[in-house]
Structures are given as structure tokens and as C-alpha cells.
Symmetry: C4
Subunit: 262 residues, 4 copies
């Protein structure tokens, strides 16, 4: 079979489209942000991406219907006079092997290049290993001009973070994007790394919506953040009472895993 298969659902003409990528990763920040953006804008399905570099898996919906795991491109046509239409990439998984990550990213970029994309925003979480009350949004970009522009929007460029660079889709879409002549920015919301973090996703979206000059109502996301906070608090309280991690019932399971309750 083809390594990566892109199924176009609708043929569209887009005006100087910008690609926003948000796939599962640290704190699921990128995916939460991209999915929320898509929902709030009412972006429409454009293409489904299947690949042998995803797990051999179908999801089963509550109604019993199966769906092959995929990535998905949606498009949003901006109001007349706006600078850019949007393409939003979300999905179930990143490629599960290094080679797969390259293959999928390259194929999606090629597809987007044909739609006229020249700019990419990748959304991600940045794990701090500690609770983050007021998450900053860290940045990395493909040019000095973009770095300066982003600083004006409140993005933090740190000399030391991310020290080891960016691993996975959020980095690769910028790095390979250059080979397609695209400029790009990675926006990383600080997060503990222990929980799915809608709070951090909100911080990322707040900046992104300004950058893209798009209105996004963050109320529902903040509501979700409060719910997660409550669950985290309850786990914490339980541990205080028993004197040991609440997850101790599952021997061998690292405590952090429990946290993924989004």
C-alpha cells in the first residue's frame, strides 16, 4: 500500500492558507488546542490521512461504529478581507516510528504546499516536571523576523529552553517545512507533563488567535481545565490521606501515567 494515503473529501480553493498543526504529545496541549480551534471556528473536513506508520487500530465509537485511526485536515474560510484562510491538522497519533514521522510529515506538507501554504504554526506542550500555575508560551521559529514578531505577541524565547530541541511532529513540520519554502513557528505551552492540560492549551490559543487575528471563545476550554484541576486535587488528597500514591493499586505503573485523564 502507499506509505501515506491522503483522501480528499472536498475540493476547495483557499486564500493564502496557513497551516496549524496540533497532534497528541506532551500534556496533549497541541492536540487540545488544535481540536478546540477547529471546533470553535467550525472548520470543515478537507482530507483524511491514513498510514501504515500509525498503529494498526480502529476506534469504536459509543454507537458501535469503527473508524480507522488517522490524521485529519480541516479548513476554515476566513471572512472577506482577512489575510489568511486556515488549515488545521489534528489526529489520533503521530507516526509511531522515526521514519514514519518523516514520511507522514513530508506527505502532509506536500499536500499543503499544493494548496498554497507558506506558513506553519505548530502547537505543543513543554514539560516542566512541576505544576505550572500560569503557563508561559515558549517559541521557536524558522527566521529572526518571525522570532521578533512573536515576541511582540508575548511568546517567550528562552536561551536554555527547549535545550534538546524539538522532537516529533511539532519540530518536523518546521524543519521539513523549510524544504518546501515554508516559514513557521512552534508555540509551546508550559505544562507539568503529568496531566492532560487544557489550561496550557488555552494559553497557546490565546496567543495564536491574536497572531492569526481570529476570534476564539475560550470559555469551554477553561471549564475543562477546571474539571481536570478538580480530579488532580482529588488524587492529591487521596494520596495525602493514605500516605502513598493513589495509583499504587496498579503495581509497576508509573504514577505519572495515572494523570492522563483528559
Amino acid at each position: 500500500m502507499q506509505d501515506v494515503l491522503v483522501r480528499t473529501l472536498e475540493k476547495v480553493e483557499l486564500h493564502q492558507p496557513v497551516l496549524v498543526e496540533g497532534l497528541p504529545g506532551v500534556g496533549n496541549v497541541g492536540k487540545l488546542a488544535a481540536d478546540y480551534l477547529r471546533e470553535q471556528l467550525g472548520a470543515k473536513p478537507l482530507a483524511t490521512i491514513y498510514s501504515k506508520f500509525f498503529p494498526p487500530q480502529v476506534y469504536v465509537h459509543e454507537n458501535g461504529i469503527v473508524r480507522l485511526v488517522s490524521n485529519d485536515l480541516a479548513y476554515w474560510k476566513a471572512p472577506a478581507g482577512a489575510l489568511h484562510d486556515l488549515l488545521i491538522l489534528g489526529g489520533d497519533y503521530q507516526g509511531i516510528s522515526p521514519e514514519g514521522q518523516y514520511e507522514i510529515t513530508e506527505r502532509v506538507l506536500d499536500y499543503c504546499a499544493q494548496l498554497g501554504v507558506k506558513q506553519v504554526y505548530t502547537l505543543a506542550g513543554f514539560a516542566q516536571g512541576r505544576v505550572v500555575e500560569d503557563p508561559k508560551v515558549l517559541g521557536a521559529a524558522t527566521s529572526a523576523e518571525l522570532v521578533e514578531t512573536m515576541k511582540k505577541f508575548g511568546v517567550v524565547f528562552s536561551r536554555s529552553d527547549p535545550g534538546g530541541g524539538l522532537i516529533g511532529a511539532s519540530g518536523l513540520f518546521l524543519g521539513l517545512g523549510r524544504l518546501f519554502g515554508m516559514e513557521g513557528v512552534c508555540l509551546m505551552g508550559e505544562t507539568s507533563g503529568y496531566f492532560v492540560d487544557p489550561h496550557s492549551a488555552g494559553a497557546v490559543l490565546k496567543i495564536l488567535s491574536k497572531v492569526l487575528d481570529v476570534k476564539v471563545d475560550l470559555t469551554a476550554l477553561e471549564e475543562k481545565a477546571r474539571e481536570i484541576d478538580k480530579i488532580a486535587q482529588r488524587i492529591h488528597d487521596a494520596e495525602q490521606r493514605t500516605g502513598e500514591p493513589a495509583s499504587s493499586g496498579a503495581p509497576g505503573a508509573p504514577r505519572e501515567d495515572l494523570g492522563y485523564i483528559g
Copy 2:
């Protein structure tokens, strides 16, 4: 070499054939059911599937003769007036890498599509992690119509199971089958997950034979189930006497492994 090699043994014309898949997996339920169906119907060999995504292995029969590991398609011509001929896919292994699973499934589906297949039934086990006296058959399907039809045959569609979706051939044949325009159903027999489970395979076959309107005598399968029950009982008794798992002689071996005595 070709990634997946399909060797056709006989050229046949089939009448609206339906594909039934049953490969090794949880409790070997799918494989047991498909192999038994094939045997009872006297289905004939149609094609052998070799692949570099199977282990590099030959089996040695009791007579000393070797056979390269493979998957196998058999066909069954239904009596005149019946709706569907059958294709039955069985074999020694599923592909041993995620990519291999995609490649093999896609190749077999492509082959079946050329034979006119439009419907797929995949058979599997669903591990409950506890002894299951009277196994239900859980389902997942590609459309709401199929879900409703299956319910009438006694298939259970649960909101929570299978929570993580279906991994492996039984899911992939449905998910990729959609890309070939095929509809499909996965039938999952509840099983402990500790033993090869002909009992669960029988539950699956009982429903499948009604769905396909095919007569299958389940006597021999039930006999096999009773044998396995006896062995399980003996192991259980031995443990009771010694106060520890009967398998404790093999240090480091998980107890469940012992159970695969089919």
C-alpha cells in the same frame, strides 16, 4: 522480494463472496472459529499468502516435512439459491510489525475485492481477565444499519467495550476495508484471555452461522472446549494442593502463558 506474495492455487468464480477472517489473537478465538468453519464446510484452498512481515520460520510436521508460515484463503461455494459464497482467511500469524499488518491486510483486501467481496466478518476474542462461564459476543461494525442487524442476532454492542478500540487484523480488516468500499462486522467472543478458548469460538460461530445462514455442527468444538476445561481444572487443583501456581517450576514465566495449551 514482494512484501506480500499471494499464490493462487485455483481459479474460481464466486457468487457475491463474503470474507470471514480469523487469525491468531486473544484466546485464539478468531482462529479457532475460522479454522473450524473451514473444516466443517469443507472449504477448499484458494490462495496462500507469504510475507516478509511474518516470522522467518518454517513449521515441521510430524512426518518431518516443512511448511513456510503463511496465511491462507479458502473458498466455499454455497448451495444454489444461497445469497453468498464464502472466503475464509486463516493462518499461522498476524504480521509481526505494525507496518506489516497494514501491508498484509491491504494486499489481502485488494485480492478479495477483485473476487467481488463487499462484506467482511472478522472474528476475535475479547479478554475479560476473569473466567467467563457463558461468553457473550460483542460487536463493532462499519455502519449503523449493520449494528442494528447484528443486535437482532444477539450481538452485544457495549458503550464501554472495547474501550481502546480494536488492535490488529480484526480491526484493520474493517478499517482498511472501508477504503475498498467494503462493509464489515467484528464479532468478539468474551474469553478469560488465559486459555485457548474453543467455548468462546463456539459462541462466535453460533451467531456467525445464523448471520450467514450456514449450518455448522458445533459438536467437535464443544468436545475440544471440554478437554481444555479439564486441563484448566487440573492445573487449578494442582495449585490448590501446593499453594502456588503449577507453573512455578519455570521461573520468570508468567502464569498465563502456561494456559495456551490448545
Copy 3:
């Protein structure tokens, strides 16, 4: 690069050539036997096989000169009137991934088929997990006729061994060989599995030389076997004295590893 690259060193015409395969494996029995056969017959280099499925490694000879790891085909022209010329396959490694094993085996078989090979003998060790004083030679074959013929030469066909089939090149050359219309036999010398075992290799060669009607002087191989026996004895004695394995100085190293001193 090509997945598997066969470099022909000399162009030859061979008379009904038979392929003998012996690559590294259990007790190195197959490799020892094939290399010894090649040396004793004075077989000449025919082709070198390189592959990305071997480790990315060069060997450095004592004189400081490097050599890329490979497999190698040698040929031997039998005296006039003999039935078969020989091709002997040896080498540094088997393919290091399952897919690689398939790719390399298929490529070599294709090459051999073009030279007229219709029969394959694969040589291997069969690990008994205990010291074997007088190793039997177990067999597996592609046809009932070959099984009967081999029995006459003293090859043992056991109902239970090898229970799990044959994994690796020795099985694959038979299994894939069938797809090239070749018949074949695997000869497995019993061995402990702890030591490189020239003694077992000798038992295999004794039978193979009768089967192929080729004279092979086994003196040097037996001498090597005696040396290994002495080393094993010394290790055993040292353990008796100290009350613990002689290899205990290297924490974590399994004792059996020590044994590979051929």
C-alpha cells in the same frame, strides 16, 4: 542502495549444482560445518553478498585491513562423472531483522536458481540444553521421499523435535526454496547450545558427505572439538574449586555466553 547486493567474482558453469547453507546460529554448528566443507574441498569464491540487513560493521584483520561483513558463495566442481557440483553459502551474519532474513534468503535463492540449483541442504545446530556426548543429526525436509532417503543415511526424524519449527536461515532456505521449485533438507546436529560445537558439526558433515558422495577428512575438525572440550573442562574445574561459575567476575553476564570461545 539495493537491499541485497550480490557481487559475482567469477563466471562459472556448474553441473546440476546443489546448495549447502551454513550460517552462524545455535552452537555455530551450521557455519562450522559449511566453512570446513568449503576449506576441505578447496571450493572457490563465486560471489559476495552485502546487505543493509547485516550490521553496519567492518571486520579488521590482524594485518589491519578491513572487510565489510557479508555472506559468501563458493563453488566446487565435482570430479567428472559425479552427479552434482556444489555451491556453499557461509558468512558473518544472518539478516538481523525478520524482514532482512526474508530479503537476503530470497535474493540468494534467486541467484542460485539462475545457476541451476534444484536442491538445498541447510546445516544447523539443535540446542538440547544439556551436554550431548554423541550428537545425533535430526532432519526436516520438503518431501516424504527426501525424508525416507535421509533416514537411510542415519538422519533422525523425531515427532517432537524441532517442536516449534525452524527459525532463521536454515528454515527459510527450505520454505522459500519451495517457491523456487527447490527441494531441500535441513540437517541439525544436536548440541548443548552453550558452546561452539565442532563435534556436532562433524556429525552433520559425516552424514552430509555420504549424502553428497563427497570425501571429507574430518581430522582437523575433531582436533578443534578436543580443544574446546579441554577449555570447557577447565572452566568446569574452576567452578568446582570456587563453588561458583568461573565467569562470576563479569556481573550480569550469563554463564553460557562465556562458552562461545570457538
Copy 4:
């Protein structure tokens, strides 16, 4: 995408160019030496090599700008009358799978062959597992003539080292280079294996510069070596005081890992 993508930055004609390879590895000796040589000679960027066999990663510079991981070829035009121009290969990673190593090496060699390369020098470290005060430079080569020539330059050819051969790029460039008709030498600086070792890189460069008849000022490299020595000494002192490894704060981290502080 292409498995390995070579982007030429400038079109050049080179005079009998010699390839010098130095990629990350033991003590980073090879990379340090190649990078330093490139810097000292003021070699110019010729081509960038991207590959799906590298990690899916971008580096983020201190100024916030990302760069996709790569290997890089630089060229240096020797003064008129000199025998050879130089090509210098450096980079962030070696291929991360065995197959990837073969693919990348073969592609780079093919590119270099088209530029006229007939000779390759690969630079590496040789781990002694103990502190090495005055590192020797061990060698391996593709011909007896080269071995003799290298001995005159002080390269040590040892009967026992490297016992297991060379694994990775430094070996593969010689082994695969032969298939392109190239001769080659591997120069291995002795090193502890615990630290990034500019001292060992200096020893390698001292010999290489004589072999290539190129002047290289080693002052800055020696300065870096002294800094590393100081850090190592401080770690050692801290351990003496506390009676345990200074790295004990990071449970589970092997002590040697700490040493990579270049």
C-alpha cells in the same frame, strides 16, 4: 519522501578531493576532529544531507531559530600545487537504525564519487575504558600499502584492537567505499569512553594533518581539552569527598553518562 536527501548549496569543481568523515561516536572524537578541521581550514558548506533515518528532530539555536538535524559536507580548496582538495563530512547524528546507516553512507559515497573522491579518511574514538594520558592513534585500512604508509605517520596497527571490528559510519565508509572503488583509512584516537575527548581528537588531527599535508593550529582544541580535564577533576574531587559518584542525584543514570559535557 526520498530516504536520503542531499541538497547541494554550491556547485564546485574539486581537484582530486579526499573525503574526511567525522560523526558523533565514542568520546565524540571523530566529530570534534572533523568540525575543528573544517573550522580551522575555513571550509565552505557544499551540501546538506537530510534523512528519515535521522531522529525526527529540530535543534533550537539560542536565538530561537530551528534547524532540522542533518549531516553536512564542506569543501576546502587546497593552495595551488597541493595534491588534494578536501571534503569534510560532519553532522548531528549517525543513522539511527542499521539499515539507515547503510542507506545514508551509500548515498553520501555516491555523491562523493561523482565529485571524484577516491580516498576516504574516517575519524573515530577507541574506548579503552580507562583514563588515557597520552592517546595513541590506532588504524585500520583498506589495503596493505595504506597500512604501511600510515605506520610511517605514527599510526598504530594492533593485532588485537579493534577486536570486534568497527561498527557505524567510520567502518561503513571504508567497507562500502570499496564498492565505489575508494581506498580508505580509519584513524581511531584512544579515549576513556567516559568523556567528550578533545585531547584524543587533537592526537587524531595531528596525524591527519601530516598525512594530508595540511597545516592545522591545534591551540584552541588543546584549550578545550584542558577545560574538560578541569571539569572531570572537579567531579572526581566531589566524589572523593562524598564517597559516592557525584551523579548519584539522578537515580538510575549510569555514571558514565554524566561525562558527556563537551
